[in-house]
C-alpha cells in the first residue's frame, strides 16, 4: 500500500508549506520483557498550504496529539518515527525536524514554526514575569535593542487587546482568558510561517473561546501564516478552519474544505459524527455510533473503522483503504465510497 500526496488540487504553482508523507509514529515500550508497539499514527499523508487554517479532528485516541508531536519534533522515547517524512518548505531536504541538525532546528523554532499548546494555562513559567517569557522565546530571533524589542512586544500585545502592564505580571496574576491571550501573543510575536495550535481553546469558557478564536483568525490573516489547528470540537472547526481532515485510530479517513465536510461528508465515520452532533433549533433525535474506538496496540485489520461501520463489507477487514480523490479537493479512504479497487 502506498499513499501518494499529489500536489494540492488545482494549485500546482503554490508549493505547500508542510507536506506529510506516509508518516508512521509508534510508541514502543518493553514492559516485563513484552515488547509492544502502539501504532498511534500509521500512514498519514496530507499537505498544509500557505495561508490556510488546516483543521485536524479526532477523538481522544485517534493519534492527533502524536501527529503534532511528531511534526513539532517533540519526539522523546517511547515515541519513535518509524517511517515517512514531514517536510517544511522552510526546512527543505530533511524530511522532518527530528532529522535536521540541531542548529537548523533551533534557528527555525519560533521564527518559522511556533506552537499554541493544549492547556495553555500552564505554558507560562509560573515564577517568571511575562516579560521574561517574551525575552526567552522571541528575543534571540528578533534581536535589536531591548527598547525596540519591548516596543514591538507592546504593539503586538495590543493586537490581542492586552495592556502593556501584563509584561510585569506573573502568570498567576492574570485571568484564564488573559493568560491564553498572552500565550497567543507569545506564539505569534515572531510572525511565524507555521503555527501548530493544539486544542488552544478547549479549557476556556465559550465567550472567551470565541474571542480568542477571533484573534487567532485575525493574526493569521495579517501575517499570512499557515495554521495546523487540532481540536476534537467540531463546532470550533466549523468556525475557524478552511480545510478539515478527520482522523480515526491513527489514520486519516477524510479530508476536504471544512464547509464540504459539514455539508457532504462521505466517510461513514464522518457522516455519523456530523449527524450525531446536536444543534440548537433542530429537534430531531440523533443516533450515535455503536462500539468504541479501537485499542491501538492491537488495531483491527484492514480498515480500522470496519467493526463499527454500518457499510462494512468483506474487503474492509482484509485490506487498508487509501485516501482517494472523491470530488474536487475531497479525499476519502473508504471502499464503500471509492469502490473495491481502492486498494
Amino acid at each position: 500500500m502506498h499513499a501518494s500526496v499529489e500536489q494540492p488540487h488545482g494549485e500546482q504553482d503554490v508549493q505547500p508549506l508542510l507536506v506529510v508523507r506516509d508518516l508512521q509514529a509508534y510508541y514502543r515500550t518493553s514492559h516485563a520483557g513484552v515488547r509492544r508497539a502502539i501504532r498511534a499514527v500509521d500512514g498519514v499523508s496530507f499537505a498544509v498550504r500557505r495561508g490556510e487554517i488546516y483543521g485536524l479532528a479526532g477523538e481522544s485516541s485517534s493519534g492527533k496529539t502524536t501527529l503534532i508531536k511528531s511534526i513539532a519534533g517533540a519526539i522523546k522515547p517511547p515515541l519513535e518515527i518509524v517511517g515517512g517524512s514531514m517536510e517544511f518548505a522552510f526546512l527543505p531536504g530533511y524530511g522532518g525536524l527530528h532529522r535536521a541538525p540541531p542548529a537548523q532546528v533551533e534557528r527555525i523554532r519560533w521564527r518559522h514554526l511556533s506552537y499554541i499548546m493544549q492547556g495553555s494555562m500552564n505554558v507560562l513559567n509560573p515564577v517568571r514575569r511575562i516579560r521574561c517569557s517574551f525575552t526567552d522565546f522571541a528575543y534571540p530571533h528578533i534581536g535589536g535593542s531591548r527598547q525596540q524589542f519591548e516596543q514591538q512586544v507592546v504593539a503586538h500585545l495590543s493586537r490581542v487587546r492586552l495592556d502593556p502592564s501584563v509584561l510585569s505580571a506573573f502568570p498567576h496574576e492574570l485571568s484564564g482568558g488573559m493568560r491564553q491571550r498572552a500565550a497567543l501573543a507569545l506564539a505569534t510575536i515572531c510572525r511565524p510561517g507555521f503555527i501548530i495550535a493544539d486544542e488552544p481553546t478547549t479549557a476556556l469558557d465559550v465567550v472567551v473561546q470565541k474571542e480568542v478564536l477571533g484573534m487567532i483568525r485575525g493574526i493569521q490573516r495579517e501575517t499570512g501564516s499557515s495554521v495546523l489547528f487540532v481540536t476534537h470540537d467540531m463546532g470550533v472547526h466549523a468556525h475557524i478552519t478552511d480545510r478539515l481532515a478527520i482522523m480515526y485510530a491513527g489514520r486519516l479517513v477524510e479530508e476536504a474544505a471544512t464547509a464540504e465536510i459539514f455539508r457532504n461528508p462521505l466517510h461513514p465515520y464522518t457522516q455519523n459524527l456530523i449527524a450525531s452532533l446536536p444543534r440548537i433549533g433542530e429537534d430531531a433525535p440523533r443516533a450515535g455510533l455503536g462500539g468504541a474506538p479501537p485499542n491501538l496496540a492491537d488495531p483491527p485489520s484492514g480498515c480500522r473503522f470496519h467493526p463499527r461501520c454500518p457499510l462494512a463489507r468483506e474487503i474492509c477487514s482484509r485490506e487498508v483503504p487509501v485516501m482517494r480523490e472523491a470530488g474536487a479537493g475531497h479525499r476519502v479512504a473508504c471502499f464503500a465510497v471509492n469502490g473495491d479497487d481502492g486498494a
Partner: protein, 280 residues
C-alpha cells in the same frame, strides 16, 4: 408537600478563604430557588460558565455541600435534617450522582462491578426476587452493556464511554427518583457522546427518573432538556422552557452565551465566511 420532588428555596453558599489574617468571602451560589415536580419526570439543564456556581449548586442538591442559608427539600425531607446512616441511605435511595470524569468515578485499584453489587445490596436488596448478579446485569442492559462485558474488569480496561455507562447503571441500581449529572459527557468522545445523552432521555421516558443536567454546552442542553436554568456568578439569570430560552434568549447574559456558542454547522451559504485562499 409531596407534590414536589425537589424544592430548593433561596439557597446560598459562601466559601471563606484564608484564615486569621486575610479573610476573603466568595459567594458561589446566591439565593437560588428551583423546583422539580413529583410524578412528572423532566430533564432540567443548569447552564453556566466556570465559576457560575452550577457545580456548587449540584453538590448542595447531592448533600455534599451544606448551604450557608436557605433550605433544600427532597421529597419533603429537609436535607439539613438527614443524619445517621439510615437517613443517608434513604436519601441516596432517592438521589444519585453522575460525575464528569468517568476515569475518576471508580477506584482504579478495584473492579468496577464492586460498586454495582454494593449499590444493589445497599439499596434494593429488599426488592428481592432476582439475585444481585441478575439485577446488576439487568441494569447494565438498560445502558447497553452486560455483566459479561464489564464483570472482572478494572476501570483502565474500559473506555470512557463504557465507564460512564457503568456509572449510570450503578446509579440506576439505587432506583433513584432523581439523578444529578455534572458535565456527564464533556469528557466523552464525540462519536459516543450522543448515545449517552440519549440514554438520559430514555431514563426519563421509560424509568420516570428526573435528571438535573449540569453543563456548559448549549447544544446538548437544547437537545435533551425540558427546562433550562442559566446561571451567572452564583445567580440564576434566566430560566424557563428550554426551546424558548435558547431560541429567543431575553437576558443579555444568555444572549451572549448563545452567540458565543460555536455550533457544528457552517454559517450562511459560502465557505467559511472568510473566503480565504480556496473556495471550492
Amino acid at each position: 408537600m409531596n407534590d414536589l420532588l425537589l424544592d430548593v428555596r433561596d439557597v446560598s453558599k459562601t466559601f471563606v478563604r484564608g484564615g486569621l489574617f486575610s479573610r476573603e468571602e466568595i459567594v458561589a451560589v446566591n439565593k437560588v430557588s428551583l423546583q422539580l415536580a413529583a410524578g412528572r419526570p423532566e430533564i432540567l439543564a443548569i447552564i453556566g460558565e466556570s465559576g457560575s456556581g452550577k457545580t456548587t449548586l449540584a453538590r448542595m442538591i447531592l448533600n455534599m455541600v451544606t448551604p450557608t442559608s436557605g433550605r433544600l427539600l427532597l421529597d419533603g425531607t429537609d436535607l439539613a435534617a438527614i443524619s445517621g446512616s439510615a437517613g443517608r441511605i434513604a436519601f441516596m435511595h432517592k438521589v444519585q450522582p453522575i460525575f464528569q470524569n468517568p476515569f475518576e468515578s471508580f477506584n482504579p485499584l478495584k473492579r468496577v462491578e464492586r460498586y454495582l453489587l454494593m449499590t444493589r445490596r445497599r439499596f434494593a436488596a429488599a426488592a428481592g426476587g432476582s439475585t444481585a448478579a441478575t439485577a446488576v446485569d439487568a441494569a447494565l442492559h438498560k445502558v447497553g452493556l452486560s455483566l459479561k462485558e464489564v464483570g472482572g474488569r478494572y476501570p483502565h480496561e474500559l473506555s470512557g464511554g463504557q465507564l460512564q455507562r457503568v456509572a449510570i447503571a450503578r446509579a440506576l441500581l439505587a432506583e433513584p427518583k432523581l439523578i444529578v449529572a455534572d458535565e456527564p459527557v464533556s469528557m466523552i468522545d464525540a462519536s459516543l457522546r450522543i448515545s449517552i445523552v440519549n440514554l438520559f432521555r430514555t431514563l426519563r421516558d421509560e424509568l420516570g427518573i428526573s435528571i438535573i443536567y449540569i453543563t456548559h454546552d448549549l447544544a446538548t442542553a437544547y437537545y435533551i432538556s425540558d427546562r433550562i436554568l442559566i446561571m451567572q456568578k452564583g445567580s440564576v439569570v434566566e430560566s424557563g422552557d428550554a426551546r424558548a430560552v435558547l431560541t429567543a434568549p431575553r437576558h443579555p447574559c444568555t444572549r451572549q452565551l448563545r452567540e458565543a456558542a460555536l455550533l457544528p454547522q457552517i454559517a450562511g451559504g459560502g465557505a467559511n465566511a472568510s473566503g480565504t485562499t480556496q473556495v471550492i
